[in-house]
Symmetry: D2
Subunit: 407 residues, 4 copies
Amino acid sequence: MFEISDRAKAIEAELLEFMDSFVYPAEAVYEQQMLEARDPHHHPQILEDLKDLAKQRGLWNLFHPHPDWGPGLTNLEYAPLCEIMGRSAFLAPEVFNCSAPDTGNMEVFTLFGSDEHKERWLRPLLDGTIRSAFAMTEPAVASSDATNVEMSMVRDGDEYVLNGRKWFASNALHRNCKVLIVMGKTDPDALPHRQQSMMVVPIDAPGVEVLRNLTVFGYADREGHAEITFTDVRVPAKDVLKGEGEGFAIAQARLGPGRIHHCMRTIGVAERALELMCRRADSRVTWGQPVSERANIQDWIAEARIDIEMIRLLTLKAAYLMDTVGNKAARTEIAAIKVAAPNIALTIIDRAIQVHGAGGVTGDFPLAAAYAHVRTLRLADGPDEVHKRAIARQELRRHRDTAESRG
Amino acid sequence: MFEISDRAKAIEAELLEFMDSFVYPAEAVYEQQMLEARDPHHHPQILEDLKDLAKQRGLWNLFHPHPDWGPGLTNLEYAPLCEIMGRSAFLAPEVFNCSAPDTGNMEVFTLFGSDEHKERWLRPLLDGTIRSAFAMTEPAVASSDATNVEMSMVRDGDEYVLNGRKWFASNALHRNCKVLIVMGKTDPDALPHRQQSMMVVPIDAPGVEVLRNLTVFGYADREGHAEITFTDVRVPAKDVLKGEGEGFAIAQARLGPGRIHHCMRTIGVAERALELMCRRADSRVTWGQPVSERANIQDWIAEARIDIEMIRLLTLKAAYLMDTVGNKAARTEIAAIKVAAPNIALTIIDRAIQVHGAGGVTGDFPLAAAYAHVRTLRLADGPDEVHKRAIARQELRRHRDTAESRG
Amino acid sequence: MFEISDRAKAIEAELLEFMDSFVYPAEAVYEQQMLEARDPHHHPQILEDLKDLAKQRGLWNLFHPHPDWGPGLTNLEYAPLCEIMGRSAFLAPEVFNCSAPDTGNMEVFTLFGSDEHKERWLRPLLDGTIRSAFAMTEPAVASSDATNVEMSMVRDGDEYVLNGRKWFASNALHRNCKVLIVMGKTDPDALPHRQQSMMVVPIDAPGVEVLRNLTVFGYADREGHAEITFTDVRVPAKDVLKGEGEGFAIAQARLGPGRIHHCMRTIGVAERALELMCRRADSRVTWGQPVSERANIQDWIAEARIDIEMIRLLTLKAAYLMDTVGNKAARTEIAAIKVAAPNIALTIIDRAIQVHGAGGVTGDFPLAAAYAHVRTLRLADGPDEVHKRAIARQELRRHRDTAESRG
Amino acid sequence: MFEISDRAKAIEAELLEFMDSFVYPAEAVYEQQMLEARDPHHHPQILEDLKDLAKQRGLWNLFHPHPDWGPGLTNLEYAPLCEIMGRSAFLAPEVFNCSAPDTGNMEVFTLFGSDEHKERWLRPLLDGTIRSAFAMTEPAVASSDATNVEMSMVRDGDEYVLNGRKWFASNALHRNCKVLIVMGKTDPDALPHRQQSMMVVPIDAPGVEVLRNLTVFGYADREGHAEITFTDVRVPAKDVLKGEGEGFAIAQARLGPGRIHHCMRTIGVAERALELMCRRADSRVTWGQPVSERANIQDWIAEARIDIEMIRLLTLKAAYLMDTVGNKAARTEIAAIKVAAPNIALTIIDRAIQVHGAGGVTGDFPLAAAYAHVRTLRLADGPDEVHKRAIARQELRRHRDTAESRG
């Protein structure tokens, strides 16, 4: 089932070996270098060392579906690789140049960028020398309804003038972040899905001000989640992606792979949490019995295994459908994994924390940070409720159609 | 993914057409014939009519994996067919001669029966002229721990003498039930998994007394769940299946397909419930809005769709593994679907009942009966807790092995 | 806390003694008499015997808040008594003349009945010689939105002419049922809450046809849940309760106590299920350990105890508020227990079933029938969702008011 | 119900007024002062200002049950006050000198301290001039089983020599922390509950080293959760509390009030989260409708209200029982609220976060920090599972006793 090529299997074997030999052992080094720097946005040397090593081994840009720019794996082939990277979520994705939101941005540049965009931004992104951010969500409105977006983009000659406020622009505080893809409103009077445009804006453009980092629970993430104001920022018309009014269409194109990558990584996080839960349960003794012998903990372990198996298969199916019938036809499955993967992972991580006792909520284990990170995925790219609404409307429509065709 | 043969696809198309043309329209007829008979164990004529029709179309014994006795479909190929039958759970499986526990018993006779067993029991079972029951569970003990089985089978010359009490022998009150496969203890002093044997016992053997039917919630099922006493029942040694002490091994062989068929049918039940939920939600109006517009009901619909997609894929994977690496290697997946499928279906059915209002708990819709039936599956062949325990122990072992190989 | 009078405590002690001495031992007799009658609506002798005994002891009409007609206990005083009766839910409430919907109907006759009504219906109801039903829900519409009610009540001289169809008229198949209180629409053009009226209709009035009993999860309840058609039924104007257009107001007055009695009884059901769960867990052994030693079952037992404690206190608070500030001021608490009590009880009963193994779903234990009965309470008098909506709107309003008063 | 004195009501009114006038407005000031200090353990001036004010108003040491040292309120009287403080959980408890673990420690000094302890430690604690910590949990073992405690306390003449490692000593990084109460093992060969002793240790005693603060979901709490090593720390015998071997007994005495205070505060946190959820739901619009109109969000609001009402009543009952029959007789109720309060609050906070969108996980709202804090309460003083085990064993015992007395 879900057959993958021998080539993808070979990459998987290499990746696993690399994780064991280099990534897991580097986790403590990474923690130490970050701690010593006393700067949450520090870019530690170990990352660059591992990036070099990964590039040498050809474990680089594995996500990129276009053979010109990467190994050209299908989504189905990339899925297990992405999950493996997710097991070391704060380190591995960047080591292999497969971290969000850069992967999504690279896809956008590949599909919709001009030659200049490709030269100036895509190439160094693929080389891992610069990073990028995506500025869509706004603090003042519920951005899941795209028509709510308020950032104004007003045409003025050969330029657009941008004014507005964005937040949760992830990666914008990465030391190497150089460019933003910005979503805004070029025509408030157009049809709802033609009002928005996306533009390419250098992070050092006049009028762009990165105000602050937003903490997630108590974490100040290294890559950052920035609040940014745009004050009379002038963007040349050539930096509009795909064309005016195409913002919503690009967002749709971008979100498919973006969501599926998040889900794959999240499954890796869940597997890691389950492994930690098992090991801890084996090593702690209460009232003369290892915790792993207790039936309530065994129920948690079993439910974790069941749920992980199910969500992995659904994610693979979504990947397969994207490969074979396209993102649009796969939209129910993509929405389904967007909802299910974080919820499943959160339950597993929470129970792993519980098995760890007080240590579970600290920085001594990767569980609390994983919880905080995965919790944001229930909101990023739209809250669960928006995706469930879409799935339900699709389902209701299907039964109405059947009823009509039968009647 | 999960590729199936053109032949299986063709059968699926025929089966769908048969369901639409004959089975769904027959549901009301069936209900009416049962009502008029005023006998819960009545065998209504419509069943025989449909069986004839199904046999003519070659939609018969689809479950049987052995090409000598059926179409020889793999578990993976049979899965979607079984799910379709599950949509009309009280009618369709028997129409196509694919109902439990006959399918499991036919497999046992195929694998472990003597030529005489095949002639006398397997042939008419495959023809649909007789039915069979499986007597394993006992009222006095928790039978999920097989060593608890108390039915004694004492060798006496060329015979065994059986004494004990069984219950939940499903099908034993079917009008056509002729034979029982009985699990008991031949050697209490053997190793735990060598204590039990299985024997073939005609239902009219002297000393076999069918005491009563057990109701399920308030339902007296047509096929019945019998409590049976065995008093000095003499069974010739030739009617021991596979050999003395092989009872546990046969049970293992039997349970794999049995469980997976139950899961497949349960997914069909869940799909039917979801369809009914959608239709009802569209047709009921409160405070000026169809119920289907309410976000809590939409959440239920979406969660149903997500969960059904996940459990179907896991069931297909279990089937695929059984086909390719065998029942034993697939035991975690089989246990997983045994737990997950009924729980998922019950939530969906319960919510469908809620959307139906008071009608949902009555006989006017198939939901309450479906709930009662699926609820028993959380107990049949071992309660959830036993299967979760097995999954957890397997998972814990896996991480212990990894730890050792790393250390 | 929740102080109750010495008089109420004395009644409680007598009631407990009566339950132990007479009611629990009678359960098996009741089952046997019903079984032998082979008629689900049979009225077994044991009931009349126990009623006589209860009347002699003064354990009669304990529910009635008006000292003229009963002991005059407050809702708070009656609550623990009602819970105790709920422990033997299919027998005790009727033994003490405290069964639904008669208690609600007796309150309606007390508050809104004419002298004739009191003489003809209330007196024999209080004596336990007749029974009554309440006909409000309709099969064609979602009756939780009262404006949906379709039963027409057209004035014609000194009479009203009733046409329509009701279902779930509980008690209408009780052998002694003599009278219906019927809700219908007298003025479709009035304000929403003035459209309905309630009328008193003898069950043998011309044009009233009890079509059938509705089963609940396969159970044909003794008292019955009837579908009834009304065809040109003529009702004298003097049999309109309280006045034309007062139907909604009466329903509100009736539902408060009705709901709280259901909740109290439901807590009794939950306590009984927990007791059964504990006893069964102690008596079953798997893998060398009583089931009660397993941590997952212990979690269930603990969660049951916690939830029962919480819902009992909330029910007592609702009762206290009804006694002190009135049904209307207690509406949030009444809605809250209406939602919480059945859901809590269902989880406990379901887990008790699971601990019982296959026996749990049969008639050998009172669990499956309890489940079916309590499940209907999530729909009766409005589904959970309607009550949650009311609570939420109240909560939102409260915070809006605070915001305004602060601003 | 749950009658409280006029005096307690008057204090409640004053406290509410103080919260509105001083505490809520100070929250932003507090945040600002902490931010500017760039030191997570900074002691901001606003705290001292508010403490002075609270002391002037007599809103001081409200927790203390002994009239010599505080207002002498019962637990039942203190409960609503403690809940009110919980609404501003990071500020209010300390403002009123009612913060954990100082309250528990003050009770221990009151009950078991020598005159010297009272003079040197209790008096300044009650004055709010110093703070204290409680060192019980250890990193190496599951401390919920008290016999696991490894810290050694070896008698040497008139002194004990302490060696071991503690963590989650909350408050130890508070700028004013001066003293520790330390639990350790004086006699490993004694009966399980006589092995431990508690001693008073100045934080600056030679050999005490505060190694580091433990973060909680990324938060470095102001008061800190310290890891501390004890190396040959010499403690005079007079500083053993109550006597050698009395550690377990003191822990039991201490935990009752400690737990109930945590629960009360947690209910305040839940109320605050519900209020924030309602306000946010009213202010966000998607697809032309305020989020507060959506039925799934209304369900969340209603469920929050129901659960808060229930847990508050159970907490009051536990308080009432502690006041009237003592901590030991109230142990089931105390364990019950210890489990239920944090779980209920976490669900409400999590849903409030979800309604807030991405902002919910940041520091812009108090929700994420509240989540992290309340999550630790499922582990502090023993994980949920330990308390459920205790409740279940108690419940099982009760039914065994009944069975015996009946049999």
